[in-house]
């Protein structure tokens, strides 16, 4: 540490990974974003991923929030999607109805982030209730803007822990449509876009030509069995399942020193 000679980057090849599971999810999500895109950001991990992408390969990424802030330029981590730091220094701020109708419905959002309590094999998401709608075991927050993000963004990314209860054969309630019952099902409804990838703490999953999930890469040290056991149906795996690329040193420095110096989201 006190050595003035720059350290070689191969420190990340040591057996003990020098990044956390959340950091891996953040850097993996960041790589899904391209320069000059408009992304509808959520707080937490998506926010870190977008800010990381903006500071690395996507300097012209426009961060747009459900609260109506356009091309936000936050000087610190927002506490919620309505944090004043997202309005100060933004390029625009629009009323909610304008944001949803002109930006989302109008097709001006390239990428949206979604989360949820349950996700099925077609990427349909439940963030409404566990159990029966009329008499729920757990009342979740509900859609918020999720249903319209899922319906109108050109593609969506989901970030979630990988647990069997979160990936059931069938979700208790469809809050936000994925590929419905396959790509054709979604197309018939006239929905734009669709889910692109699901990034968990075990793997990165994508959707095949029928709109069904398969594991594309497994995170370092994660086995097929671990992923299958955390999934509520027989999950497909890519023919050539590879290992998810790990965060590089500069990504980790940015995350730890600049983006989340207090470790609010990065354990």
């Amino acid at each position: 540490m006190t050595d003035t000679e720059p350290e070689a980057d191969d420190s990340i090849d040591s057996s003990e990974p020098d990044y956390t599971s959340t950091e891996l999810m953040v850097t993996t999500a960041a790589r899904e974003l391209r320069d000059d895109e408009s992304v509808l950001v959520g707080v937490g991990v998506p926010n870190l991923a977008c800010n990381l992408a903006k500071r690395t390969h996507a300097p012209n990424l426009r961060m747009i929030y459900e609260s109506g802030t356009i091309d936000s330029n936050p000087s610190s981590l927002p506490l919620s999607i309505g944090d004043p730091v997202l309005a100060t220094g933004a390029v625009g701020v629009v009323p909610m109805f304008e944001g949803f109708s002109k930006y989302l419905q109008g097709g001006r959002i390239d990428v949206g982030f979604l989360g949820g309590a349950q996700i099925d094999r077609y990427g349909n998401i439940n963030s409404t209730v566990i159990g029966d709608y009329e008499d729920p075991a757990v009342r979740l927050p509900g859609s918020g803007g999720a249903c319209e993000i899922a319906s109108n963004a050109h593609r969506t990314l989901v970030i979630t822990p990988h647990q069997k209860r979160r990936f059931p054969e069938e979700v208790d309630f469809v809050t936000s449509p994925g590929y419905v019952d396959g790509r054709e099902g979604r197309e018939e409804l006239g929905l734009r876009g669709g889910p692109e990838a699901i990034i968990t703490d075990l793997a990165v999953m994508r959707f095949d030509e029928d709109g069904e999930l398969y594991a594309e890469t497994l995170h370092p040290g994660v086995s097929r069995d671990e992923v299958q056991n955390a999934t509520g149906w027989t999950l497909a795996f890519a023919d050539d399942v590879e290992t998810t690329p790990t965060p590089d040193t500069e990504d980790l420095r940015l995350l730890r020193e600049e983006l989340d110096p207090d470790g609010v989201y990065l354990e």
Binding site: S67, T69, G82, A87, P95, G145, C147, E148, G190
Partner: protein, 297 residues
């Protein structure tokens, strides 16, 4: 605020306290609790802490919403207790998405029988809500839904500054304020500062609430604490984190209400109870917008 709430709100009314995460009318909500209404139909995209407090106080019998959580913190526990266990009383829920609910307000503000929206297709929400219906486009199109107008009996909207006639400038996140101010039957405007009419007239493009829609004007500095007012104060995040603890039981909420709502007569007393350090820490630095020249004609 006492008089405005007293005159504007009746038992059984539908009430919308506006402001998406920003400019939330906490002071008005507390006044509603103090005046002990019953059977209110509370409407808000994001119920937030203020509706959790109102629900726990037992004033609500119905909640219309689109996302019920403690923003950036977690779950809205009193809301969940009422829905899951009927504590302190059962509440009916009427659920939308953010876009669906704001589209209802937009239809109400615009005198339209419905607003078409590209959302809900493929979701289970339309099955649970008869106000979400398919509409056929006369020009042919894929599946599209519509929602009917929503015109609450009473809306409370906040703004950084307004004149005595109720014309108000809002900056930062306007949320659903411009819609609900025109959709509601009775509107209470609560401002951080009442300013001369000439201040409003110097920048007419910034007027998001027209005085002709406003029935009561109340000056109430810090009336949105612990939420925020852009340029005036930041969100008091400590309060949002503390609520996560306080709201763990109906009993601990009641204790909190006794101290912070029933135990004070108005917002002024509420503010006096807060540590001044806390208020001072919420003050942002000054960042003026580059002025514009309207020109004298």
């Amino acid at each position: 605020m006492h008089t405005a709430i007293d005159q504007a709100v009746s038992d059984g009314d539908s009430v919308y306290l506006a402001g998406f995460t920003h400019l939330i009318p906490f002071a008005a909500g507390h006044e509603i609790v103090r005046q002990g209404y019953t059977d209110l139909h509370l409407i808000r995209a994001t119920p937030d802490l203020i509706y959790d407090q109102l629900i726990a106080a037992g004033v609500a019998s119905r909640v219309t919403f689109s996302w019920a959580g403690n923003p950036g913190v977690g779950s809205l526990r009193a809301f969940r207790r009422a829905v899951e266990d009927g504590v302190p009383n059962a509440i009916e829920i009427d659920e939308y998405t953010h876009f669906g609910l704001t589209a209802r307000l937009a239809a109400g503000a615009r005198g339209l029988p419905f607003m078409p929206v590209r959302t809900f297709a493929g979701s289970d929400l339309p099955e649970q809500n008869e106000n979400i219906r398919r509409v056929e486009s006369p020009f042919g199109d894929d599946e599209i839904y519509a929602v009917p107008p929503l015109c609450p009996n009473v809306a409370v909207v906040r703004a950084q500054r307004g004149d005595v006639s109720g014309n108000a400038h809002v900056w930062g996140i306007p949320g659903e304020i411009p819609e609900v101010a025109l959709a509601a039957e009775t509107v209470i405007l609560s401002v951080e500062e009442i300013v001369d009419e000439q201040v409003i007239r110097s920048d007419p493009n910034r007027t998001l609430v027209p005085g002709s829609a406003v029935d009561y004007v109340v000056e109430e500095p810090y009336g949105s604490h612990p939420s925020y007012a852009q340029g005036c104060y930041d969100r008091d995040n400590q309060a949002y984190l503390e609520w996560n603890e306080i709201s763990e039981s109906q009993a601990s909420i009641e204790e909190w209400l006794d101290e912070w709502v029933y135990g004070v007569t108005d917002r002024r007393e509420y503010l006096e109870k807060l540590d001044s350090e806390r208020l001072l820490d919420l003050k942002p630095s000054t960042e003026y917008a580059t002025p514009i020249d309207m020109g004298g004609y």
